[in-house]
Symmetry: C3
Subunit: 335 residues, 3 copies
Amino acid sequence: MATRNQPSYRPPQRYQSRHLPFGDRRDAPFYGKHILSVKQFSRDDLTYIFEVAHEMREMVLRVGSFDLLKGKILANLFYEPSTRTASSFIAAMQRLGGSVIPIHEVRYSSVTKGESLPDTVRTLEAYADVIVLRHPQKGSAELAARYARKPIINAGDGTGEHPTQALLDLFTIREELGQVDGLTITLLGDLKYGRTVHSLARLLSMYRVELHYVSPPQLRMPREIMEEVAQAGIPQHEHTYLDEVLPITDVLYVTRVQKERFSDPAVYEQVKDFYVITPEVMARAKDRMILMHPFPRVYEISEEVDADPRAAYFRQMEYGLYVRMALLAMVLGKA
Amino acid sequence: MATRNQPSYRPPQRYQSRHLPFGDRRDAPFYGKHILSVKQFSRDDLTYIFEVAHEMREMVLRVGSFDLLKGKILANLFYEPSTRTASSFIAAMQRLGGSVIPIHEVRYSSVTKGESLPDTVRTLEAYADVIVLRHPQKGSAELAARYARKPIINAGDGTGEHPTQALLDLFTIREELGQVDGLTITLLGDLKYGRTVHSLARLLSMYRVELHYVSPPQLRMPREIMEEVAQAGIPQHEHTYLDEVLPITDVLYVTRVQKERFSDPAVYEQVKDFYVITPEVMARAKDRMILMHPFPRVYEISEEVDADPRAAYFRQMEYGLYVRMALLAMVLGKA
Amino acid sequence: MATRNQPSYRPPQRYQSRHLPFGDRRDAPFYGKHILSVKQFSRDDLTYIFEVAHEMREMVLRVGSFDLLKGKILANLFYEPSTRTASSFIAAMQRLGGSVIPIHEVRYSSVTKGESLPDTVRTLEAYADVIVLRHPQKGSAELAARYARKPIINAGDGTGEHPTQALLDLFTIREELGQVDGLTITLLGDLKYGRTVHSLARLLSMYRVELHYVSPPQLRMPREIMEEVAQAGIPQHEHTYLDEVLPITDVLYVTRVQKERFSDPAVYEQVKDFYVITPEVMARAKDRMILMHPFPRVYEISEEVDADPRAAYFRQMEYGLYVRMALLAMVLGKA
């Protein structure tokens, strides 16, 4: 396993930004790096990120906020609205004593006058120390990173990646169940279009887990992802019904079947009620398991489940705060 | 009267949030409580709030800002725009050294994907220490509070309440005229739909005042409010014309007749010019009286009145800052 | 030249706000003043502003941020979106340790209920220490300043002025080339509607420079500006083609030909490609010259030019940060 200052893994050049500012720990792993894709992480990297995130959690529980990033500025650049992710990054920066430039109204601004993403990024890095980017187009985070001297953190690029979501999902499992190795993990719902479950499956393939995919036939996990996971030697099983696998599941990860993904509304109506988690479903699950969801949920987990201690989805958002604190501190050379 | 640490009044359970964080003064009154309605306050509570707000005023005049809430985060959750109220809470938090997550673009966000208010609130409390909520639906603040572990402050819930506005109105009277008992207070304009005057009348009924209601017949104070006030033993008088009561008025509280409240535009045109305050009107008022308005004003107070020292409406907004500073410090256990 | 505490120039009364708060250096030049127009500055003022901005640059390069304006609040009031300018002022305030109330969604707010700009400004000064105003109407900044007790900084008032842009343009020249006197400066593109080049030409006329204006005949520099500049004894030359003047140019300032300025789209298509800067153009320019642009650019400078060390437009934005830091510190009495 990598120690703090001797990471076993050197990410490829494209994750390395060119910026070398004042007074930062240049020997820190991830210092000055972009966070673009789950593919950039080794298992040692994950271990390190989660150790830092765990420390962040302990610090927040003990003192709420602290001044690790005092004086640092985050440009929170959201080309599409995402209250949850935007708020999480804002809070992460503020709990570390840093400041945020909130840019959540991009659609109305110079972008509509035709400015390119690289120009916007190079403008913002004149003001800020790190840029969090949410953009509807796949590949936009990597495009931005190609031009940026300051670290870019990908907060979702359309059908591409949302690496901080996958990291917080994994961190949730680790914090809730103590470890990831040895677990049976079931991904449920829209596995075809769900960016979240794709990234999570990729990350999980670095651990000794067993994966189950439960979805309607139209929404199966893409072959491309399954092949990647198979190459890592991870057992995978596809199911149409949850019952088959619920009793052995340690982590049940539910995703929403989004109406906007369907060209035919009739197909949507046909599948949408298939995979709803109710107290009755939970009664058949293990006593020591956790129920996760990337949120927002609509109907796919009924509100009566919220009081169940195994319902981890609200805690999951709090874990997201700690992971984002860790990433911000790391790319700014302070962890 | 209640002393700092021994409040005479314990609010009902629903105003009590369940959160018990690090290092806060748990014995402080209002610590961890929701601010949902003027109905939750006793007169001792009001005395206490205004004492804290007065201290806030003195601190701001002396040092501008201070670090009482350093490290605390406010989620400013506005489902409808209100620059004035939103800015006031942001400034209140910042003058106390705290940070703000501004969520002013809710309409475009996950809410449109159908997320419930309780889920949004439970998300934000994973990041923030206190939530200020503005929502167009009556009862939404109480709904949010039912689910929240962190304190909720109601910043207006449609036709429901806007308790911090009523508190700042009362604080303005106290700071400007020294006391509330013994005053003759005249509420003018749209008394039927004006949420502000309803809450203010309720709060005033805890003091020995005389109330006058001046409005067109279509826009009288609702019977329900008048009965509540009557039960407190407060004399009330209704008028159609201001002249009848202006010479004895100590506080003239003007509200706007809002076009959007009228289904028939002709009725609006008929009443709108009835109750405009001009220098000529002010010439017939007491030398020591104050003119108040919740703002925005359009035409109901002419700009020539602004220079009159009795025009208290701009100072009223500044008093709002102090009241909101007091409430934030109180619910976070720091006052 | 003016020393710090004895400015040779006293701006007229309208640039003087009436506010006198706690603990500020009342003898500091620009303390409590509005920044409304480039016309308000003497050359000594400019020297002083640029000295402070240069210090800000050195401080940021050395420590990133510092607490000169800790506890101060900026209300960033944007009636029209401008990500670049808004972000620049936010970062400027944050790098000085101050806070920002971001008001970027004005269009949806009480303004639509008809509130006047003076009322909005008088509201915000109840909360904030300084107001940055962007407004589509010419003269709005001066209108706001007429009512404000706290300093107003004009961040663009329609076809009026954008003084901080002109100051940062001049500061860029000073920092990049060491001095302004003696330079040959060429303004290119839309000189008729470009507010930026008008203000810059006015400021430049306080220095010993030679000005060249290159534009299509339809978009010539207005006579009014040229007469002002001529009165200052500055040589001016008009050209239709860049080639004539490129070899002697020290500063080439490119502006965009904006489609929305043309009533006839055919005329736009006819002129738009005339003045595009490519590596081939740069090959004919001086070795020691700088290429500037107020941004956003669309096509008028090709991306291949970005790698040219003479391309100063991204550094120009960074200089903007320092100029805005200087102005904020100055009007708040801290520089």
